[in-house]
Symmetry: C2
Subunit: 455 residues, 2 copies
């Protein structure tokens, strides 16, 4: 049997991030205020350091990764690229399936690829504290770890219901020294207002974001960190695709198709953007974002300027959106709950440089379990979306006889998601196909702005 | 900074296990019946296949690892050897600290190193089902995974209180297709007897063992699997030390001291035995088993023939023991709860070829957290014992200025143990120094047998 694990040495950790903006046919559309005018950097500087903002707006193709960041990456990078021999055999497919496994990071997902540089840049810029919000706790864990690496205080507003019902991620954050608060708190105006209305408020992600941003904006020593959506976050994740390309080349392969789950876009951007560089240079490769049919921002959403958060606190960004008040149905257990899609991914999708598919929940968990039984690793529910799409493609290859090379990003393990697996295994989950009609309804009141501005 | 991660290629997965029996000054003492006579293989064949029993009794130095087993190992082996640069810096020690990280396996610990060959040998010998018991679920997970790899049905008796209170390990076992039953069940005589006495019996590890062994003994198609204590289990774990030796040699190092937690001995045997081969050949290296002061079998136990299980179902084995009725105190959260020590480790300790130390619980969790904050990985509580001893030694090196090279086995991650971390972080744990007086009391009624038999 040919090689199963393709490893790189620590000296092969990328020295530069790849910035997809350099290869986009059109420049990214600017963030706008409700008045339709571009939002200048001064607004962003309230909550982000200048060095990160510079990356956010850069059009340079290659951006150097600081040595201090690469030093921390050595704790788990380069990550393995695996050939899924056993899955191929179970499926009886002529396709070759490869996966890049990011679950070996300390927090168990790809999120540390950006939390570490974000902590580093804040430290460099003289900030000693960062805030963030977290729901289930994946992003909060990644920030806690990163803050500890650079001696930065981390303050996490964790949705209260998760804080109480999912104590393990909370303990993980605390183990790394993070300060975790059940949101709403009485430490912010947003929190106090919510508690005044309802002292038993169990919180929401939107409210936790408001608290984290409010604290960051109100203190000179504190910034805000975000785990997805923005350009610099996707930039940081490109280490995944850059390593994967090198590893595939070591075994003489190049993918026909690259798959990744798509929520806020950091996983997809991470593995797919470096291949988009080749596509821009004329190479044939298909890049497929995979989303849940219950949160189908690209496959059913509209392409419009919308807020990044549910409270309308952020600038307006042009993206595929289900409306910023979108709430995933209660039955949805698989993550990727964001109402929109990152502006970069959205623009590339709009320009037909990438594709998107949506997969149903039950088939997604079934794919995760089929994968675990073949390959051992139990994938995070988010990662299962990519696996579902890959298995579907591999089964098509079985029918057509095409020996395609398929690559996907296994962004994290499911050790903290066994509750969702349990709900699936005990028959408590069902499919929910988000109705197209609801999209028009939910987006009808968005500010009527666009870019370029109508004359 | 010198290399952090030292990786091997998949072709470097060991081709043979190292059998320490070949290098012991005296042959292992035989298991005895209560009458003082050695127990023949026919008794063991009721619950183990012949090919495993052959390994259990072998004195061959090198035993080949089947290709089919090495194929599965490729899913996570060779595991990384890490230089703990950041921990060294935090401690300010001149010591060099290396750790072998086994938490990258699908089930998150070193246990899969033996569950995989055990499933393979059962399959080879024509058995289609295996049973086992599990408490918190670490071993049950490893067997579920291994059974799935070879198409063997796995039946796990899980202590009922854990089944209900720790559903996540249960879901993990089920994800890999394992059948998990809350013990006591009404499927075995042992279970029915317990339920007749108390219908609300919440189970114990001893009872779960009895159920698993009873089912295995009563069916021709079924065997029993064990995750520690026995010779073949420790043999299978030697891949850890064999890889570590090679990895250290790649950076020109050889350990002055090797540390590992010691409960049933599989972790310690795995990393330390391959170095004992060198010691037998005259090389200077110290091998240190680390146990909790609340379950101090080597440091406070007696060296005597005792049962391997609490019900007295197994043959008598010569080992360091606290008495087979030993129960760790309720306050103990750190694993390594076994009343005895594996016969091989015990004999080597008795012959002063290895050392043992005991560490208190609070200092153990403190060490785990210090490690997590320096190196990222959150260690399993069992692994924290080894870390505590390594940190203590590194601090001694700081005082003496000795630049010792220290190696330890980080046997697993703590993702399923955050409940214990939470108890530590919230001040709910305390130290318990097991009283020496209790040992004599608890071992006074053991069968008065020994080997060689008194004339």
């Amino acid at each position: 049997m040919s090689q199963t694990r393709i490893m790189l040495d620590e000296k092969d950790i990328p020295t530069h991030w790849y910035n997809v903006v350099a290869d986009m046919p059109n420049p990214p559309l600017p963030p706008l205020g409700p008045d339709g005018n571009p939002v200048g950097p001064e607004k962003m500087l309230e909550i982000f350091p200048g060095n990160i903002l510079e990356q956010e707006m850069s059009a340079e193709r290659w951006i150097p990764i600081p040595e201090e960041v690469r030093e921390i990456f050595k704790l788990w990078r380069p990550t393995p690229l695996m050939r899924a021999h056993r899955l191929e055999k179970v499926l009886g497919t002529p396709a070759k399936i490869f996966y890049k496994y990011e679950g070996v990071s300390p927090s168990g997902s790809h999120k540390t690829n950006t939390s570490v540089p974000q902590a580093y840049y804040n430290k460099q810029a003289g900030f000693s504290r960062v805030t963030t919000e977290t729901g289930a706790g994946q992003w909060g864990s990644a920030v806690s770890f990163a803050g500890q690496m650079f001696g930065i205080e981390v303050r996490i507003y964790m949705v209260k219901i998760s804080y109480e019902q999912k104590p393990y991620r909370r303990s993980m954050m605390q183990t790394w020294g993070g300060n975790v608060f059940p949101s709403p708190t009485n430490m912010t105006q947003a929190g106090r207002d919510a508690l005044a209305q309802d002292p038993n408020n169990m919180g929401s992600l939107g409210l936790a974001i408001s608290e984290a941003v409010e604290e960051a904006a109100s203190r000179a020593d504190t910034n805000y960190t975000l785990g997805s959506v923005l350009n610099h976050v996707l930039l940081h994740q490109t280490v995944i695709g850059l390593e994967a390309k090198k590893q595939l080349a070591m075994v003489g392969e190049y993918p026909d198709m690259v798959f990744a789950p798509c929520g806020g876009g950091s996983n997809f951007g991470g593995i797919a953007f470096p291949f988009l560089a080749d596509k821009a240079a004329g190479k044939k490769v298909r890049l497929v974002g995979v989303e849940p049919i219950s949160c189908p921002s690209m496959t059913k959403g509209i392409y419009a300027y919308d807020y990044g958060d549910s409270s309308g606190y952020t600038p307006l960004m042009k993206m595929y959106t289900l409306g910023h008040n979108f709430m995933p149905p209660g039955i949805h257990a698989g993550g990727l709950r964001y109402h929109g899609e990152s502006p970069l991914v959205s623009q590339l999708y709009h320009e037909k440089l990438i594709e998107a598919v949506a997969v149903p929940q039950l088939a997604t968990f079934a794919a995760g379990i089929q994968f675990a039984r073949a390959e051992g690793i139990i994938p995070a529910p988010e990662s299962c979306h990519g696996i579902r799409a890959v298995i579907d493609e591999a089964l098509r290859c079985k029918e057509t006889g095409e020996p395609k090379t398929l690559l996907f990003c296994l962004s994290g393990h499911g050790h903290f998601d066994m509750f969702s697996y349990d709900r699936y295994l005990s028959g408590q989950l069902e499919d929910y196909d988000y109705p197209q009609e609801l999209v028009a309804e939910a987006t009808k009141d968005l500010p009527k702005v666009d870019w370029p501005k109508a004359a």
